[in-house]
């Protein structure tokens, strides 16, 4: 006897019935998020302490012309090999506010899935280019501004392009600087000083797949890191600008994805961020397209608490904010005051740093 495809369908559908209750998992997710935040807070504290101590050590080094002691950071040193950098880090190229120095398409031969830029620096999710039989693997890359991040200098001490670097399975105890991705014994990561006082971090997201599932991970991370070179700075660009924003609002972060969506975060004092997302597709919920229910400044729109959606010719824009902090009237005022570029003509787009007039 042979099984049929219908037998297989029936078996798989039957499996649904044993799924655990979502509430139980929801609670676990909340707990996991809280733990991660706690790790992040601890890391920031540790990093700040390291920065202060490192500054003291540097001053002592300059004054006394002696080798700084990695153990002087107060961290538990797991350095297996001490090899101070022989060449100085490159001076950091001036980067405009909300400016990229990394490609949004391809970095070191890897596909850029998403990239964001803010005052901390740049963060990128990379995807190894899929080949005929290879599985894609994710990596996260951070390029921090000077002084934003300090590694604890644990792990294997080595060099990237002649600059100070550390590689280890957990070189960042208590989590990574933004709590992401998961730190753990399976996540090889590499930190290197890519410019004066400025560090980059590269960490494999999935570590149980080639090429990050064994000893090759070390060489692969080093190979990728050596190929990461900041480019000429360029402004993040947005297909709109504002005629009105809440008082005190400032552009704090721009995130864009390989699918063409670009999201601006407006920080407004003590409130939660206001998000403005532009994308070439159409908004959907549960795979069903939404229908405009009104008109705003000549554009079809959906107005509801927390989200205003505007339909333009080749894209849509959503202005969203916590309804407890932003009234429908205020969000509508923001959306109605916007002027738009031509989606298909990037020369008409606006510099992110200049969209608030």
């Amino acid at each position: 006897m042979r099984f049929t495809e219908q037998d297989l369908r029936d078996l798989l559908v039957a499996r649904e019935q044993v799924a655990v209750e979502p509430d139980r998992v929801h609670a676990g997710i909340r707990a996991g998020v809280v733990q991660r935040r706690q790790r992040r807070t601890a890391t920031i504290a540790v990093s700040a302490a390291c920065a202060v101590v490192a500054l003291g050590v540097s001053l002592a080094y300059v004054a006394g012309q002696r080798e700084p002691d990695p153990g002087a950071t107060g961290e538990t040193s797991r350095v297996t090999e001490t090899a101070p950098a022989t060449s100085s880090p490159a001076p950091l190229t001036s980067r405009p506010p909300l400016g990229f120095t990394l490609s949004d398409k391809n970095i070191a031969g890897l596909v850029v899935q998403s990239i964001e830029v803010g005052s901390f620096g740049q963060a990128v999710t990379l995807w190894t280019a899929p080949g005929p039989s290879a599985q894609g693997t994710e990596l996260d890359l951070w390029l921090f501004e000077p002084g934003v991040y300090q590694p604890n200098r644990a792990g294997e001490s080595l060099q990237v392009a002649g600059r100070e670097a550390y590689l280890g399975t957990v070189p960042f105890p208590n989590g990574n600087p933004d709590g992401n991705p998961k730190p753990g014994p399976d996540n090889p990561a590499l930190a290197w000083q890519y410019a004066d006082g400025a560090w980059a971090v590269l960490q494999a997201g999935y570590t149980r797949q080639p090429p990050f599932d064994g000893s090759a991970a070390r060489e692969k991370l080093l190979e990728i890191a050596a190929r990461i070179t900041p480019e000429q700075p360029r402004h993040a660009r947005l297909p709109y600008r504002f005629g009105y924003v809440p008082e005190g609002a400032r552009a704090s972060l721009v995130a864009q994805t390989m699918y063409g969506a670009v999201t601006l975060y407006l920080t407004t004092g003590g409130k939660r961020e206001l998000l403005i997302r532009a994308a070439p597709d159409r908004p959907v919920i549960q795979n069903k397209p939404l229908s405009p229910n009104t008109d705003l400044n000549g554009h079809p729109a959906i107005v509801k608490p927390g989200v205003i959606t505007l339909y333009l010719d080749a894209f849509y824009v959503q202005v969203s904010g916590d309804p407890a902090e932003y009234s429908v009237e205020e969000l509508t005022r923001v959306a109605a005051g916007m002027t738009f570029a031509t989606w298909t003509d990037p020369t008409t787009w606006f510099n992110a740093a200049d969209v608030i007039r």
Binding site: V20, S114, S133, D140, Y206
Partner: protein, 164 residues
């Protein structure tokens, strides 16, 4: 859409998907929880994507494929395939399903994943290829090998147990 809204809306479907994918409710719970906690950390970027749900499913697939049996967990057959009450011959159908489930659980994980995406999610080979980060032809190869294994293995077993 905030992360909380996403979880509220999509968690039940993601759990069902993970349970069907893994065949193990405990493992599905672990995988989904791990993936969503990680997704929270990168939500700013994920929420800007056209289809965050698809991206999270890809994370679940990757997590399942690469999940090391850290706690010695194996895919248990007993959690799958409850028998429908209106089936005329419970014992026979149950045995058949258990056999199929047993065979399925022993396939390489990529092959299992392809079968779940094709026969449970009804996704096209192109969609599956995008989720797995490979070519559609590779997907077809996985599916063909998996289906062949499910069928020929069973036949071999039956033949081996037959009396002359």
């Amino acid at each position: 859409m905030t992360f909380e809204e996403f979880v509220r809306a999509r968690l039940p479907a993601l759990l069902r998907f993970a349970t069907v994918l893994t065949g193990d409710r405990g493992l599905a719970e672990d995988v989904v929880q791990e993936v969503l906690v990680r997704a929270h950390g990168r939500w700013r970027r994920l929420s800007g994507m056209a289809a965050p749900d698809l991206y999270v499913r890809r994370m679940i697939v990757n997590e399942f494929i690469s999940w090391r049996r850290r706690w010695g967990r194996v895919v248990p057959v007993e959690t799958v395939a409850p028998v429908r009450p209106d089936t005329p011959d419970h014992a026979w159908v149950h045995a058949e399903r258990q056999e199929l489930a047993w065979r399925l659980a022993r396939l390489p994980r990529r092959q299992q994943t392809v079968l779940v995406l094709r026969y449970y999610e009804d996704r096209t080979d192109a969609e599956i290829a995008e989720l797995l980060g490979c070519r559609p032809a590779t997907v077809r190869g996985y599916a063909a090998r998996a289906l062949a294994a499910l069928r020929t293995d069973r036949r071999s077993t039956v033949l081996a147990g037959e009396k002359p």
